[in-house]
């Protein structure tokens, strides 16, 4: 299966999301360290959803761009949104009592990272990792 949808409703779903992501990336043939990187990025973003929004979901699927193959993770929630995306992407900025690594950390782990947020309506994060 090339597309997996994981509801992010509770803290235990963080684990489910990263396990599904790892499985899909493994099927695609990513290396061991890439699998750890992808699973860690998913974990950080899924936890953000649990902490800041009451519910959301993650869509995991295969992406092909020319000769390249990779995984795309789309996290969407209907939470309060992010007022200042640029600030939220800075290291050390945290509103969830965490280490402030969630968004900037996940961005470092992935090849492509895009945040679209509408305050009051929710946040969508799209991140991609291409096979090396």
């Amino acid at each position: 299966m090339d597309e997996i949808r994981v509801p992010i409703l509770a803290e235990s779903d963080v684990l489910a999301a990263r396990q599904e992501g790892r499985r899909l990336a493994n099927d695609l043939g990513f290396t061991g360290s890439e699998l750890a990187v992808i699973a860690t990025a998913i974990s950080e973003i899924a936890r953000n959803v649990v902490q800041h929004a009451s519910h959301g979901e993650m869509l995991l699927r295969v992406v092909r761009g020319g000769p390249q193959e990779g995984i795309v993770v789309v996290s969407s929630d209907e939470g309060p949104g992010i007022g200042d995306v640029a600030q939220a992407l800075q290291d050390g900025y945290s509103t969830g009592g965490g280490l402030g690594l969630g968004l900037p950390g996940a961005r470092r782990l992935m090849d492509e990272f895009e945040v679209v947020s509408r305050p009051g309506h929710g946040t969508t994060i799209t991140m991609k990792k291409w096979k090396s």
């Binding site: 396990q19 750890a36 990187v37 470092r108």
Partner: protein, 123 residues
């Protein structure tokens, strides 16, 4: 199932054998710090060799455990961080500064022995 914690002489050895949710990690943290008192342990080894992700929450919890145990008089060593996991931690920007890490259980026990010997010599 919770993380098994085994008493081994003056030490506690805990092996995290599967991926843990945040709630399970916090339960482990509380139980471990209680057992340090119950068994009057001087050292704690946490084996994470079966763990495939150490994200910011897991790392922060391990740091908390190590500092809480320190305040309770026990030295904590984290052993068995897998190379792929270490790679992802570095990229994410995580470290375990101030916390002892060793390659495996054997080295972890040797580390605690060295700490105990030092305490006897200089204490």
């Amino acid at each position: 199932m919770g993380v098994p914690i085994l008493k081994q002489g003056d030490h506690l050895v805990a092996s995290i054998q599967s991926a843990l949710s945040d709630a399970e990690l916090l339960e482990f943290q509380d139980r471990l710090s209680e057992q340090v008192g119950e068994f009057r342990s001087r050292g704690v080894i946490i084996d994470v060799s079966a763990v495939d992700v150490l994200d910011s929450f897991a790392t922060r919890t391990l740091r908390t455990i190590a500092f809480v145990c320190k305040l309770r008089g026990a030295e904590t060593v984290i052993v068995g961080i897998q190379p792929d996991v270490a790679f992802a931690m570095v990229q994410l920007g995580l470290d375990l500064e101030g916390i002892a890490t060793e390659l495996d259980l054997e080295r972890g026990l040797a580390h605690l022995q060295t700490v105990a010997d030092g305490a006897r010599t200089y204490g």
